[in-house]
Symmetry: C2
Subunit: 663 residues, 2 copies
């Protein structure tokens, strides 16, 4: 094992998400999140016991002030200068670090055999020692406190001098800060950003603005922001030669590729990847303009899309940990009932795709706290209650009623969360808990079936009113019934017919729920139905000039109506992670790639060769990648993992690093 | 009410104590505390609703980045520039502040009628709004994050050029940093501090050292330290013209005065005041050299001494709040069983001397958590358990056995804590809790009497061994039986004879326990016994050249033996708060000043005129001061509070601001 920076579990993620979440702006007003921001422990002890076969020099670094204690309490190293020497034999090494400036206390220890790594323990001096947290910081010269994304210079593609301002077009949706060259140190600039041209030129109403004061020596904007267009007004006397965007991005060593015979699908793929890339920042976030926070519901989809785009597990772990938070669970994650349940579901999902048991072990306690918090809301009705003062999101949809405390949608998420708990504790070899939660899941499933399934309508109803089913049918809960294993075979067929393919049921308008709706349709075999829907939905945005996919799209709207939301002219986010749904659909249901079993040590490939005359795709895996080519009636597969190819019911072994061709 | 800076309750105190506690050094090794350091909430919302009779401009300041929300959610102030204008009418004002750099989020709002003050609410977005915290920061230009003590230049009194170093004597124990003038920017200095000359000149073993690198542009030592002597070695080429101490202190507008016909008592008073002043820093601390942390047991005595020296309630509140900590109570305060109980006792004591109900209200919840934490340790024995892994301090004394889990001393503290709880909840008008805790106190008192009082020995025994009294008699628990109302009248007399005046019982050697022992003797009327004891104990240190009173004094030791403790040659602190005990004894039992009743709205003065032929004393009160002069058989009293003078059983009314003379 290499040496890496270690810290108290969650502290780096909590600190980083605090900073991230508080960079959301509405013009010049900063908008910190509406939920609790947790704090980093200021003082942490790191410790390890070990036996040296021979003496060695050990380098020790820490962010913060620290002392080093060797072998016995109060035996502090004096006159410490970068390294210590330890004789052969058994030692204990304790490094006590404190940071009162908001940095994360962290250490890096590097000797020939003694290295800080995931096997170390730490304590906030509360009486417990726990395994350390880690984030893949292997460079001793760069601590977690210096973590940043990457930057790349990006020129504008066109410039228009208007009356009193200059309008720059950067060609497509982007994210970064603006840098000015050859500026003249008098006065300053007023900057108006727009995801659309309309927004940038609407000085009174655009969502994001900035000021740069050349007089104060400023030459760049401070906070990175989302935009395609920028309108710049120079105040009296301010001059500059050029403006460039410093594009900020999360570098991805491997990226999925997809190309097919259908140009529109290719465009949808490309724009989806661009959209997803922009929203893959320090964390998987929701949208880069107005929203710009880390939300569990959005992230849960991003984790899945990630498996077919970047397989970026570092960002995924950061996001899961940041959302888990610290301390007493007093409110739902992001203050949203469903988002806490998604967190539980995604926690196991992470394992299902990675077999990273150490991560499960490290976060087992928090998982248990969050699960029990949810179960504490299950009352005598046998269902989980959404208190009226809480936010039950489900979906943005005007038709969806929110007049109950018990939604079938929430119960289905809880059922899935309990099944996830069964798997988590099975992996962690805690049979008692695994069985207990599975029993609770089974009982809940029966209650859901009994209470919410409406045999006449052939679908699950929405909520309880006065303790009884409200009889209302919406897509959302029926989608989850299909995806989360609530509906049986007969019910699945019925839902397909009576809900998903029934135009009388209010249509889904968010990409968010479309992610699940398309998935449910595909799970029910209707990939052929989904492809044209996707082309129409995302194609509609492309026709309107989208260079990234939106938070919400309603084909019935027109012109600048498309930009409005939340009662604001440009309130809608034009680059939203859930807009990248097509990556998941194409990867999982068209190319047909999925884990063969829990842990993803082998791939299962079930391509739909009837839908596209030709396609070629490459997806990163947890190790290496898989390439699939469908051309001229021949399917070629090459994978770095073993697996199985399934075509027309036939199963063909995939041997890693060997090319298979099926004609 | 004036405008003042407000913050989330406890955050300023927690931040300040974290910084304070982590400035303890052992040579160049920093020694952060052995208990958990809590974290400041990074994001806080401050809010208030109010009605304006006419419009007004309101100045708003905050430490950290912030937004301002007026009247309705998401109605953020744009283009904010120092002030906002609000029309007449009813408004809500919310200021959301976040600091990710370790500073305390805090705000200052100042309009004609709208001012940030103790009536505001705040939230860490955990679903609750609570009353804000405050620390008396009325200056809008200086936020709590800029809080510092004061500095005063202090020259050395003598200088001795030795072989390879210069020894400076600052004349008496002090605390500060060293400042060099006319330095030459080459090389640097090695600095060795000593509370004694021996220590400063013992380069290998002195507790505190420093380096100043002129080459790096340094001209002062970084961290303030405790010393009387400083030995300075100049490394090759380093030159300076002069060194001065910048004495750091907590300015006290009023200070008690005491002078009497006995020169030694005057010296004891003066040195006690010097000792107590040095240990009255950001908080009431234990000792300024080796110890330098904030400890609840020490602070509990300091609060009492404070009432007869500075009446500095700001430092007292800071200390109580800092010790209370935040979050789940997982361990005892300072990791010491008795110290948690002292905290509970001192919490009510603060009210008893101040009538500050708002403080009780603000900290009621935390008081309840800490009390319940202690009560959770009461097991089926009916007594509070000290787990073997925990630290039951009681006192430093070699004779004292620590081989039990149940100490009578601890039960007596718990009894007093429960009585305090009764008073706290009575003041807060929570009759149910007041009655419940009193009932628990009464039951505990009976158990203590039944289990620990040894009628034959006429004293309380020490601990339970195998569920039975160990039969061992120590002073400590019997002192507490007297002071905390456990012993009845007959037992008190018996304790005086059989324990306190019995040389066969191991003597008390710490000033810490002497504080209580002298108090108990005085409570039993033996002030005449205490005065000579005090003169002998403190006079012994003065004879050895003490300029401040020590952590521990054993007259049987000699020479440099006096400086050793904890297995270290200079481990003993020569300036320890509990060394200032004489202030309390002289004030409370000789001058005889105490509160007339709970809240201290009136004074009760019961001077012992039989002990000293003459004395003159002035003590600060919560408002104003009281002067008492005993000279030539006449007693003159002048007080800014009403009260009662009691002499020889006669009660004479004291009318505020009027001089009374009794001949």
């Amino acid at each position: 094992m290499k040496a890496e920076w270690i810290y108290y579990p969650g502290d780096f993620e909590v600190k980083t998400v605090n900073v991230f979440n508080s960079r959301r702006y509405e013009r010049d007003a900063v908008i910190p999140p509406i939920w609790q921001s947790h704090a980093v422990a200021p003082d942490v002890k790191f410790a390890k016991q070990f036996t040296l076969k021979k003496g060695e020099w050990i380098e020790i670094k820490a962010d913060g002030t620290f002392n080093i204690e060797i072998d016995s309490p109060d035996n502090f190293v004096k006159d410490f200068d970068r390294m210590i020497y330890l004789d052969k034999g058994t030692h204990s090494l304790t490094i006590h670090v404190f940071c009162h400036d908001g940095r994360v206390p962290c250490v890096y220890v590097n000797g020939e055999t003694i290295k800080s790594n995931r096997e170390w323990y730490c304590s906030v001096l509360d009486g417990d020692f726990v395994h350390v947290g880690y984030g893949g910081f292997y460079d001793g010269a760069q601590s977690p406190n210096e973590f940043t994304l990457a930057y790349q210079e990006m020129p504008y593609v066109s410039k228009e001098v208007k009356d009193g301002y200059i309008l720059y077009d950067f060609g497509k949706e982007t994210f970064g800060y603006l840098k000015f060259t050859a500026f003249n140190g008098v006065g300053g600039l007023e900057i108006y950003y727009g995801e659309s041209k309309e927004e940038a030129e609407d000085f009174a109403c655009c969502e994001l603005t900035d000021k740069v004061n050349f007089s104060d020596g400023e030459t760049r904007t401070k906070i990175t922001k989302a935009f395609r267009y920028v309108a710049i007004k120079a105040r009296a006397g301010a001059q500059y030669d050029n403006v460039r965007c410093m594009h900020e991005y999360n570098p991805q060593p491997t990226q999925a590729q997809f190309i097919c015979a259908d140009g529109l699908i290719n465009d949808i793929w490309d724009i989806s990847m661009h959209t997803f890339g922009l929203n893959t920042r320090e964390f998987f976030i929701d949208g880069i303009k107005r929203d710009r926070w880390v939300w569990s519901g959005d992230a849960t989809q991003s984790y899945l899309i990630n498996k077919y785009s970047f397989f970026d597990l570092a960002t995924e772990r950061r996001t899961i940990v940041a959302l888990a938070g610290k301390g007493e669970m007093k409110r739902h994650i992001n203050t949203i009932v469903d988002y806490t349940l998604y967190w539980l579901i995604s926690f196991y999902d992470y394992y299902a795709y990675t077999k990273d048991k150490a991560f499960l072990t490290l976060w087992e306690k928090r998982f248990g706290e969050i699960l029990e918090f949810c179960l504490s809301r299950v009352d005598s009705s046998g269902f989980m209650r959404s208190d009226p003062a809480e936010w039950t999101f489900i979906d943005w949809n005007d038709a969806l009623t929110k007049d109950s405390e018990y939604y079938s949608f929430i119960q289905m998420l809880l059922y899935k969360a309990l099944c996830s708990a069964n798997r988590v504790y099975s992996v962690l070899e805690d049979g008692e808990k695994a069985a207990r939660y599975q029993a609770q899941a089974d009982a809940l499933l029966q209650r859901i079936q009994k209470t919410f399934y409406d045999k006449e309508k052939g679908a699950f109803t929405h909520s309880l009113i006065d303790g009884k089913s409200d009889g209302r049918i919406f897509r959302q809960s029926n989608i989850m019934a299909v995806l989360y294993g609530v509906a049986d075979e007969k019910q699945r067929a019925s839902i397909l017919k009576n809900v998903l393919l029934n135009d009388a049921i209010p249509a889904t308008t968010t990409s968010y729920m479309l992610f699940y709706e398309y998935s449910a349709l595909c799970e029910l075999g209707a990939v052929d139905v989904v492809l044209p829907l996707m082309k129409k939905y995302y194609g509609g945005m492309i026709e309107l000039g989208a260079t990234s996919f939106w938070e919400y799209y309603d084909p019935k709207q027109s012109g600048a109506e498309h930009y409005a939301m939340y009662g604001r002219k440009y309130g809608k986010s034009l680059c939203h992670a859930w807009g990248a749904t097509a990556i998941w659909i194409l990867g999982k249901y068209v190319v047909g790639l999925s884990p063969m079993e829990e842990g993803y040590d082998q791939i299962l490939l079930r391509p739909r060769l009837d839908l596209l005359p030709a396609f070629e795709a490459t997806f990163p895996l947890k190790e290496g990648q898989v390439s699939v080519k469908w051309l001229d009636g021949a399917l070629t597969v090459r994978s770095s993992l073993d697996g199985v190819l399934e075509i027309d019911g036939k199963r063909i072994a995939i041997v890693k690093d060997e090319t298979i061709t099926v004609e």
